[in-house]
């Protein structure tokens, strides 16, 4: 069955036989004659059918009323107890002798190392100071003791469960929850870029999403050809990708549409509004890209970003002065500054945006021997946006004493992570795809203002 080594060195003339009949000698070399012929003719038919659908994208310049969800996933299991600090819970200080963040009134600690009071019980890590004004103005909401039912304490299981919208990893659809919501709704005129992941790799939450693309930066999102060759190159790619119904061909067509769309965007001369300064970090520059896309009004509905490095088994630290080399310090500093810059830059647009900050699980209440913490269960979540009824920490706090914790010594999950997520989806469109969160009964944590919910873009149910 193996072919001779030089079968491909035919001069190619036979391929273009004007009679249109393939060279029968060439067919003899094919792995399966019938399969090859069928493949070729089917591909041809598909190509003719699909060609006319290309190149009909028009972008509405109208002011959009659409709401946009920005999901920032803190990967590695972020320590909620160091982010939204339960400083009035004395067990916190017992379990974390060197890692705890000092209470706002602790005179023995330096002023810059004390928690920033939120509600008399919880306080922000001082490195989140840039977010405090947003909390106070009521645009930022914190949730505590949030998580999934996944007991594995495995990054991959827990992330996968959350990104698929499941209670726990195991059964259920393999597509992402955002993907299912996107697949179940649409916009007209169609946008080539409904969802973007500012990432190297498409996150699982967008797995299977229509019109979703992963990119590292908008500026680099262009074909590496001179202006004179661009049309020819794009035409060739459109023809190559014009036929297939496989994931790569579909993604290729979407990439070509996105290229056309983004060509109108002048990323180089972008200036953030109101003097907002984004940190030069992946998250900071990522959010800046998202801001550009939103302002360009291209029909973006979902943006996903990652911030890794939260798996602080060693040298976790807590605040800058408390543990100078701690890993959390630079992470929290970046999160605070990036979100604050995005908020400032978006200005009034923030009204139609919800930024969700989430993580796959929190960390063990008791610190370990390496000045770090091991994998735990519940953690914190933020929702930042115009319609949010913020300035609150929503939780069902039962304390950090051994009796309140689970059998391993972890903070129990009091709020299903899907409660806030479904609240955001509902506030954004008044609609949840039926399978967006399988086997889940919606439980509204009361996150949004009533007027905001009332003004959500209406969804029209189609008759069955």
């Amino acid at each position: 069955m193996a072919l001779t080594k030089d079968w491909w060195s035919c001069d190619g003339k036979g391929h273009r036989d004007p009679s249109g009949v393939p060279n029968p000698n060439l067919l003899d070399f094919a792995p399966s004659r019938r399969g090859l012929m069928m493949g070729a003719s089917m591909a041809m038919a598909g190509w003719l059918g699909a060609r006319s659908a290309l190149g009909q994208i028009s972008i509405s310049a109208k002011k959009s009323r659409d709401r946009i969800m920005v999901v920032v996933f803190l990967r590695g299991g972020a320590d909620g107890l160091s982010i939204v600090v339960p400083y009035r819970d004395s067990d916190y200080y017992r379990a974390r002798p060197t890692l705890a963040v000092a209470s706002p009134t602790d005179r023995t600690a330096g002023a810059e190392t004390r928690a920033l009071d939120l509600d008399g019980f919880f306080g922000f890590n001082p490195l989140l100071a840039p977010l405090l004004p947003l909390y106070k103005s009521g645009e930022l909401l914190a949730l505590h003791a949030v998580g999934s039912q996944d007991p594995s304490r495995s990054h991959f299981e827990a992330m996968s469960a959350m990104e698929k919208g499941l209670a726990r990893e195991g059964s259920g659809p393999s597509s992402g929850w955002l993907a299912r919501q996107l697949a179940d709704t649409t916009h007209d005129p169609a946008s080539p870029l409904r969802a973007v992941a500012i990432a190297d790799v498409m996150p699982d939450s967008l797995r299977g999403a229509p019109q979703a693309i992963a990119m590292q930066s908008l500026e680099e999102f262009r074909l590496a050809v001179g202006e004179s060759d661009r049309a020819a190159a794009e035409r060739a790619l459109a023809l190559l990708y014009g036929t297939g119904r496989d994931e790569v061909s579909i993604a290729g067509r979407e990439t070509l549409e996105t290229l056309k769309t983004l060509r109108t965007l002048d990323t180089k001369s972008y200036r953030a509004a109101s003097g907002a300064t984004y940190p030069v970090s992946d998250l900071g520059t990522g959010l800046k890209q998202v801001a550009m896309l939103i302002k360009a009004n291209l029909g973006l509905e979902v943006a996903c970003l990652n911030k890794g490095g939260w798996d602080t088994h060693i040298a976790q630290g807590a605040t800058v002065a408390g543990a100078k080399l701690g890993l959390l310090a630079s992470l929290l500093d970046d999160v605070g500054q990036s979100l604050a810059a995005f908020h400032r830059d978006m200005g009034a647009e923030m009204y139609r945006i919800s930024v969700v900050v989430m993580t796959e699980f929190g960390r063990r209440v008791e610190q370990n021997s390496s000045l770090g913490t091991d994998h735990g269960r519940a953690s914190t979540m933020f929702v930042l946006g115009g319609g949010v009824r913020g300035g609150r920490v929503i939780t069902k706090w039962t304390g950090l004493n051994a009796a309140a914790l689970d059998e391993v010594g972890d903070l129990k999950v009091a709020i299903d992570y899907r409660d806030p997520l479904s609240a955001v989806l509902h506030a954004h469109s008044g609609y949840l795809a039926p399978d967006v969160f399988p086997d889940y009964v919606r439980n509204d944590p009361g996150m949004y203002n009533h007027s905001y919910l009332g003004s959500a873009p209406k969804i029209a149910d189609l008759p069955a």
């Binding site: 060279n23 094919a30 697949a183 709704t185 916009h187 797995r207 994998h375 029209a460």
Partner: protein
């Protein structure tokens, strides 16, 4: 995906009652799962030889096709699985000129991190491009991701070169339990997953968890949180030399840090000194004895971690997990029969990797299964190979890998780069740009062989896709009126070339 005319009209009618004019930007419920329902696997024709070289290696070169035609699949595969292929002396000479191959990584501590990572990747690109034992190079990619180490954590980049040789390459064609033991004692892994700092007072669970979840048993395979804690206790004291007199950064067992209490792991009782290892066969111990002149006293308790590795290496769930991963990587996602068969082979041969792979790589399942997407490293290397590109694998290609989303040794999480189509399909543009740049001579240190590829675009297409281009091939339309050398780029950028 677009809304049908009718859907849009209905939506407009309803929407206008809500005070929204026309059809603009109204969210509308449409048919569900339209994307998923309409998905079909790619069906391009591929010859058996090309399929084998795409799956078991990094794509065809003329030389491989010649060898394969001479030997036939069985012999070609077995020669490589038994590692009988002498390496290309020219490749060895080039590798010898790269610091990270010529020196010990820990002696390179004054090298910048970026230089270490670049050189490590350069070596990987060169070996995959030129390595004569393509099966081995393919397995190195597999095992490197299986035992993933993030080069930007701590000293990992300086420890990784030795890990690559002593764990991955040394055992890629050997016995899996031995690779598992080597990895457990690899300073790079001990640092990456924090076991380096684990002591009896507060055992660190990071490595204990991942060795079971990702390296051996697989997740949800029956171990409990308690097992994780017990395994962590067994590994207390497994650390890395870092004191003044011990700067070589090798594996070190610190009995003072070790928890000497009894442990129960997966139902097995484990006690210090219970199972003193047969030193001749214990991987990695030779160096320790020779250098330190340690007495048995200082090694009391070392047996416990080794016992854990042995339990895991012999475990039926490990056999199943490794078999599943190999089948998914080399065959396809639903190869249940092959998983059963390969699991049995693992158990019968004590995890002998070539015995598991020989039937798999020569199977009809490998030939008939739906294509798998190439990860960026695979795409880059197969592009170089199919175009017979001569390269030093240097910084430009390393940067291209980063742009395509797979900078080697830089996946932060211990599970390695994903192997699913959906993870990679959305990142086509950097691949297209790589193809364009390579074809148009845009890389100073990687030039394609225009002599054999240039000229008639249809001939070029046949050379790159390694199949006959028939008169009604849909690609033919794309090959007309292209800028110079763009036919090469177009074929490397084509959907077909993204699959293996």
């Amino acid at each position: 995906m677009s809304v049908s005319r009718r859907d849009c009209l209905i939506a407009a009618g309803l929407a206008s009652t809500a005070g929204v004019a026309g059809c603009a930007r109204v969210s509308t419920v449409v048919r569900r799962n339209i994307n998923r329902k309409h998905l079909a696997p790619p069906s391009h024709p591929v010859t058996p030889d090309v399929r084998l070289l795409n799956r078991a290696g990094f794509g065809p070169t003329t030389q491989d096709l010649t060898d394969l035609a001479e030997d036939g699949h069985d012999k070609w595969v077995s020669k490589r699985l038994s590692d009988e292929i002498p390496e290309d002396p020219l490749l060895l000479a080039v590798l010898g000129s790269i610091d990270v191959e010529a020196m010990d990584g820990m002696e390179m501590r004054d090298f910048p991190l970026e230089a270490m990572l670049t050189q490590l990747q350069q070596v990987a690109i060169l070996r995959a491009r030129y390595g004569r034992n393509q099966v081995k190079e393919r397995l190195v990619d597999f095992w490197t991701n299986h035992f993933n180490i993030y080069g930007r954590k701590g000293l990992a980049a300086y420890r990784k070169p030795r890990d690559e040789h002593e764990v991955i390459r040394k055992h890629a064609l050997g016995y899996f339990p031995e690779m598992l033991m080597a990895s457990a004692k690899s300073p790079a892994m001990l640092g990456y997953l924090d076991n380096r700092l684990s002591d009896k007072d507060h055992p660190n669970e990071n490595y204990a968890r991942e060795i079971m979840e990702l390296h051996s048993l697989g997740v949800r395979s029956g171990y409990t949180q308690q097992d994780i804690k017990e395994v962590a206790r067994c590994f207390t004291g497994w650390t890395v030399e870092d004191r003044f007199m011990h700067r070589r950064g090798e594996f070190r067992y610190e009995s003072k840090w070790h928890d000497m209490g009894e442990k129960v792991v997966l139902g097995h009782k484990i006690r210090p000194g219970d199972h003193f290892v047969d030193r001749a066969e214990a991987t990695g111990l030779h160096g320790l004895f020779a250098r330190e002149g340690s007495t048995d006293e200082s090694l009391v308790g070392l047996n416990e971690g080794e016992e854990v590795v042995r339990i895991l290496g012999e475990h039926e769930r490990t056999a199943h997990f490794i078999a599943t991963k190999l089948c998914r990587y080399f065959l396809h996602d639903r190869a249940d029969e092959w998983i059963t068969r390969t699991t049995q082979t693992y158990l019968d041969t004590k995890g002998h990797i070539p015995s598991m792979l020989q039937p798999m790589l020569t199977s009809a399942a490998l030939q008939e299964s739906a294509p798998k997407i190439k990860r960026p490293f695979d795409f880059l290397v197969s592009s170089l190979r199919v175009t017979e590109t001569q390269t030093d694998g240097g910084r430009e290609l390393v940067n291209a890998l980063r742009d395509m989303g797979e900078p080697l040794y830089q996946w932060p999480m211990p599970d390695g780069y994903p192997d699913r189509t959906q993870s990679w399909a959305s990142g086509l543009l950097p691949r297209w740009n790589f193809a364009i740049r390579l074809a148009q001579g845009g890389f100073r240190d990687a030039g394609v062989d225009y002599q054999s590829l240039g000229g008639d675009p249809i001939r070029t297409a046949g050379m790159i896709l390694r199949r006959p281009i028939l008169v009604n091939d849909p690609y033919i339309a794309a090959l007309r009126d292209l800028p110079p050398n763009f036919a090469i780029a177009a074929m490397l950028a084509s959907p077909e070339f993204q699959w293996r």
